[in-house]
């Protein structure tokens, strides 16, 4: 009798084991199945958010944690319209609730250290998070040391960059609003490469558009360290001339050397402005540097384009503006979203021990407003070249708008709505 009971218990436990096996067989389908692994994504901008979202969309049972220092996502694209007073901060701010709803664990915090060997990272406050694969989307940070006086001026808030959307956007809008009629708004563009190649020229147009109406005696001075306009050149030149002649002045080869109060010193001249908007020279975000991943020109992270893994630390994927780009690949939110999908697809295959896609494609679309109601675009498609192990633009593809137009202003806002939803699972 006793023997029979034991036998029955054995049978029951065997049944439980069978059920467990069945569940394991469905890994990737059933949320209760075993995890493929733990992926931690650091940085919740276009690249990081998209990676987290697509790991869940495509990966099934991947444990995904997103660490982001800010409470909300604030978009750089469209933020120039806030500076012009044509959009509000609420229009460019979205939450992380969509990502939470699809199962991403969102942690608000600052990563202070990455231990690549031990596969863990530490947050301010001391908490540690372990991972099987790490994705860093640290964006850019500024090389303020290249311009005398810039660091203290930025710290005090007297000079703003507004090249990371958020409080800087709000503060620069206030400075523009407080400018007297007849005042000067001077914007300094760093030598390429920098985040969002057409962004400074869009900003010049949008601020000029606002000032022309609200403070018509004011000036926009665009001081470009580069020898020419870096993106959509003919379209911006036409906008400057046709729309903002007398308001906007563009100067090439005008590199900022030093700041002192409201005085800006260039190589051959000094100038004073009511608002100094300095877009500083840029490099990969601090986290990439502290993790030891910056290995190109002492500025950027080299990556394997099939997996987006750092060439300095395989197993650590780096995406977006922090990467040393493939030829003609812009640093843009759109491109970061595309990097993210290559990374997410590769990570899932790698966790499963399967081959990664050997022929990825990424593409880019950047819309720029030249006024409150008209926009222009630049587009490119980049196919992976197996021989040279990099992405290359397809000859004959891509290009810019024929002329500024209202339809593309609508598309620009439609693009924002769709990419925010795609990246943040809205």
């Amino acid at each position: 009798m006793n023997e029979y009971r034991i036998g029955r218990r054995q049978w029951l436990s065997a049944g439980a084991a069978l059920a467990a096996t069945t569940l394991a067989g469905c890994a990737g389908v059933s949320p209760s199945g075993p995890s493929l692994g733990r992926v931690v994504v650091v940085g919740g901008g276009y690249g990081g958010a998209t990676t987290a979202r697509y790991l869940k969309l495509w990966g099934g049972n991947v444990d995904v944690t997103l660490v982001e220092r800010n409470a909300d996502f604030v978009s750089c694209p469209i933020s120039n319209l806030v500076l012009g007073g044509y959009k509000q901060m609420s229009d460019i701010t979205r939450g992380y609730s969509g990502l939470k709803a699809v199962g991403v664990k969102v942690v608000q915090g600052d990563v202070t250290a990455v231990d690549v060997a031990a596969k863990k990272l530490r947050l301010a406050g001391g908490a540690e998070i372990g991972y099987d694969r790490l994705v860093l989307a640290p964006g850019i940070d500024f090389m303020t040391e290249q311009i005398g006086g810039l660091g203290p001026a930025l710290d005090s808030g007297s000079v703003l960059h507004s090249w990371k959307a958020g409080p800087q956007t709000v503060a620069l809008r206030r400075q523009i609003e407080a400018m007297p009629d007849g005042g000067v708004f001077a914007m300094f563009i760093p030598k390429a490469p920098y985040r969002c190649p057409p962004g400074p020229y869009e900003r010049a147009c949008v601020v000029a558009s606002y000032l022309k109406t609200a403070k018509p005696r004011s000036k926009v001075l665009v001081l470009d360290a580069n020898p020419e306009i870096q993106s959509k050149k003919a379209l911006f030149e036409k906008a400057f001339k046709d729309r903002y002649d007398g308001t906007l002045e563009y100067r090439a080869n005008a590199e900022l050397k030093e700041l002192s109060g409201n005085l800006a010193k260039l190589e051959f001249e000094d100038l004073r402005a009511d608002v100094l908007n300095v877009i500083p020279p840029q490099r990969a975000g601090d986290l990439a540097r502290s993790a030891g991943l910056v290995n190109i020109n002492n500025r950027w992270v080299g990556v394997n384009w099939l997996t987006m893994e750092s060439t300095a630390a395989p197993g650590v994927h780096v995406i977006g503006d922090a990467t040393f780009p493939a030829p003609a690949m812009p640093k843009s939110g759109h491109m970061a979203n595309q990097h993210a999908k290559v990374a997410a697809a590769a990570i899932i295959q790698l966790l499963k021990g399967e081959a990664v896609n050997p022929t990825p494609v990424v593409m880019n679309t950047c819309y720029s407003f030249v006024s409150a109601r008209e926009a222009v675009h630049v587009a490119s498609v980049h196919q992976f070249d197996a021989a040279d192990k990099t992405f290359k633009t397809v000859p004959g593809s891509g290009g810019v708008s024929a002329a500024a137009n209202q339809i593309e202003a609508r598309y620009a806002l439609g693009w924002a709505d769709n990419i925010w939803a795609d990246s943040l699972a809205l």
């Binding site: 697509y54 969309l57 495509w58 759109h334 979203n337 595309q338 999908k341 290559v342 697809a345 295959q349 081959a355 990664v356 896609n357 050997p358 022929t359 990825p360 494609v361 990424v362 593409m363 679309t365 675009h377 587009a379 490119s380 498609v381 980049h382 196919q383 633009t393 397809v394 004959g396 593809s397 891509g398 290009g399 708008s401 137009n405 339809i407 593309e408 609508r410 598309y411 806002l413 439609g414 693009w415 709505d417 769709n418 990419i419 939803a421 795609d422 699972a425």
Partner: protein, 104 residues
């Protein structure tokens, strides 16, 4: 002899099929289609007045993109983007979007 030839041809066809299967990654269509999501929504479920791609019959999408490529269909931007994809890639994307439910 004829029979041998036929077997040979069948073997070649089989090898060809295997070669194709090896060359094409199982998620290639999905990954290619994801490059469209920034404007046309995740899995082609567009928001606002951007064109939804989910549920579009594949022959319709292939014809549209072909017309953008050839210049038969004027566009603001799609004529430039369509030229970046091969006809084979367009077929794969079209099949992927056709298989998506039209409503999210």
């Amino acid at each position: 002899m004829k029979k041998q030839l036929r077997i040979g041809a069948a073997l070649l066809a089989l090898l060809g099929a295997c070669g194709l299967a090896q060359a094409q990654h199982p998620h290639l269509a999905r990954n290619l289609a994801a490059t469209c999501a920034n404007c046309h929504g995740t899995n082609g479920h567009a928001r606002g007045d951007m064109k939804p791609l989910a549920g579009m019959p594949s022959d319709k999408m292939i014809a549209m993109l072909g017309d953008y490529k050839s210049g038969n269909q004027p566009a603001t931007i799609m004529h430039q983007i369509a030229k970046g994809y091969t006809d084979e890639q367009i077929k794969l994307m079209a099949a992927f979007f056709a298989a998506q439910p039209a409503k999210k």
